[in-house]
């Protein structure tokens, strides 16, 4: 699936719920089902320190495709990490760099990504794009 198709399907999935607590319950489920990050990737280099919670992010590049793995010590953040990975992982650097991330806004989770919520997620999206940028320049 293309990045925007994945984004649209996520937006749809969240739209079935009116009550915010249900949306959060879905996010918690997603956090719980995220594959745990291999301990060897939990290096200081891969950590994105937020004020409230910690996020680890790892990226691998094979055959022109980037695969991301990540984790957080807070389950809600882990849920969003899982969403970001669903959207961003498995694409080429150019695809990752050329698509706007709009699903978070549309779900109404924007507050999690606003710079005032210092939970490391803004830094995480930035880091995902930095990986893509680095791998793209490798391609050329």
């Amino acid at each position: 699936m293309k990045i925007n198709e994945i984004q649209d399907s996520i937006v749809e999935e969240f739209a079935q719920f009116d009550d915010w607590m249900d949306k959060y319950a879905l996010l918690i489920d997603m956090g719980n089902s995220l594959e745990p990050l291999d301990e060897k990737h939990k290096t200081p280099q891969n950590i994105i320190e937020g004020c409230q919670s910690r996020v680890w992010l790892n990226a691998e590049y094979n055959d022109g495709i980037i695969t991301y793995q990540g984790e957080s010590d807070a389950i809600l953040v882990k849920g969003i990490v899982s969403l970001l990975i669903q959207v961003m992982s498995g694409h080429t650097p150019s695809e990752i760099l050329s698509n706007e991330l709009y699903f978070i806004d549309k779900i109404g989770l924007k507050e999690h990504l606003s710079p005032t919520r210092s939970n490391g997620l803004v830094a995480m999206v930035k880091q995902m794009k930095m990986f893509a940028l680095a791998y793209r320049s490798k391609e050329n």
Binding site: W20, M21, Y24, Q52, S53, D73, A74, I75, L76
Partner: protein, 407 residues
């Protein structure tokens, strides 16, 4: 506090009737900042409407009026803290600025290489970093008073820490994370045996317990207005006159000078020597109004009622499985910090927020304390006298739901 007066008090704080996500606001983040009563809001408005003119130097009527109001506010702070002279009260932007003022000027006047500063493990970053900066500047050592598992300072360790190199002790009156009320009078007495002055961080104390700086014999006592129902951006430093005379100015500019030539500047008398620039006379007068309001209700009444709330909240929290109360000192102020099992504090805080409940999560600007307890932070409920047991019931019910989702 009976129900009737509680209803009246709540009606005096407009923000308490806010609706958050379609739910009535339950505000349990008073340790971070308190809400403002109508009389304080009115006072800010009145200030700009009727006494807005730059103070001290003006010859005109409005300036005189504003000056008088500002200096009356200084007297109000002086009386509130039980200080002797209004010259001993320096207005600052808050606790942080007051500590920085002392750490810098005291360091300039009295500290040199090899000296030591003593703080405690439960300090807010505001009472750590300014001293660390001093230590770096002067090649000094920061010593840290440890605490027990319950969250009480180890007085024996403290006694052993003081020596001929110790220049100053800086300790919090009440811990913003644990709620521990430290035995500051005793800490000061011990330091004074060695002729060491003591700074007390009163940010979390003055809104909740009666403070008398003379009784404590504190050399420096600092607090923030916004934590005691006054606006942000105003606070105060109390310092014994002898110290204020001995310390050099902190910042240079208008107000703090007596005479300026390009060759030499002489400084103004106390306390103006430490108040460079146009003072926050709107803030100071609103602070005085907040102090008047608190005294009208009675700080002893406030302390007794908040104690009731804290005990009740703690009891009800214990109904929840895997509950861990962080900070179990014998003497506690209106703060309850906790963790539930392995749930991250952030998750609890985010979900409670959606249910209209404002608590604080994280390390509460006391990272060394959390590190020493080996926890990522806590969820903290901190109370004010406008909170109610019914709100605690709502909070507990919400917390049970949230914990159910997260476990």
């Amino acid at each position: 506090m009976d129900k009737l007066s509680l209803e009246k008090i709540r009606s005096e704080f407009p923000i308490l009737s806010e609706i958050i996500y379609n739910k009535p606001l339950v505000y349990f983040d008073n340790g971070a900042t308190t809400q403002k009563p109508q009389c304080v809001l009115d006072r800010i408005n009145y200030g700009y409407k009727h006494l807005n003119a730059n103070i001290h130097r003006g010859v005109h009527f409005l300036s005189q009026r504003a000056t008088e109001a500002h200096e009356n506010a200084r007297k109000a702070v002086c009386d509130f803290l039980g200080a002797d002279k209004r010259e001993e009260i320096v207005f600052t932007r808050g606790t942080t600025e007051a500590i920085n003022l002392v750490a810098f000027t005291f360091g300039e006047a009295f500290c040199s290489e090899g000296d030591e500063v003593v703080v405690s493990v439960m300090e807010h970053h505001s009472n750590i970093v300014p001293w660390q900066m001093l230590c770096e500047r002067k090649k000094m050592t920061l010593r840290v008073i440890p605490m027990s598992e319950k969250g009480e300072l180890d007085l024996d360790a403290y006694k052993n820490m003081l020596n001929e190199h110790t220049r100053i002790v800086a300790v919090t009156h009440v811990s913003n994370v644990l709620g521990t009320v430290n035995p500051v009078k005793e800490l000061i007495e011990i330091a004074h045996v060695h002729n060491i002055p003591v700074l007390i961080d009163g940010a979390q104390a003055v809104p909740h317990i009666k403070v008398n700086v003379k009784e404590l014999d504190a050399d420096f006592y600092v607090f923030s207005g916004h934590k005691i129902y006054a606006p942000t951006g105003i606070g105060a430093l109390y310092a014994k006159e002898k110290w204020l005379n001995a310390l050099p100015p902190y910042q240079g500019g208008g107000e703090m000078i007596a005479a300026v030539t390009f060759e030499k500047t002489t400084y103004n008398e106390l306390p103006f020597k430490f108040e460079a620039g146009t003072p926050d006379y709107i803030g100071s007068t609103a602070l005085a109004e907040a102090l008047r309001y608190v005294q009208e209700i009675g700080i002893e009444n406030i302390a007794a009622y908040e104690h009731e709330l804290t005990v009740y909240a703690t009891e009800r929290l214990m109904e929840i499985e895997n509950m861990r109360i962080i900070g179990q000192a014998d003497k506690k102020s209106a703060v309850v910090s906790f963790l539930v099992g392995n749930i991250h504090p952030y998750d609890i805080g985010m979900l409670l927020d959606r249910l209209g409940i404002a608590v604080r999560t994280g390390h509460h600007c006391a990272q060394p304390l959390c590190d020493s307890l080996q926890i990522p932070g806590t969820v903290r409920a901190s109370f004010a006298f406008y909170n109610t047991k019914e709100e605690i019931d709502v909070f507990i019910q919400a917390l049970k739901r949230v914990v159910g989702m997260l476990l």
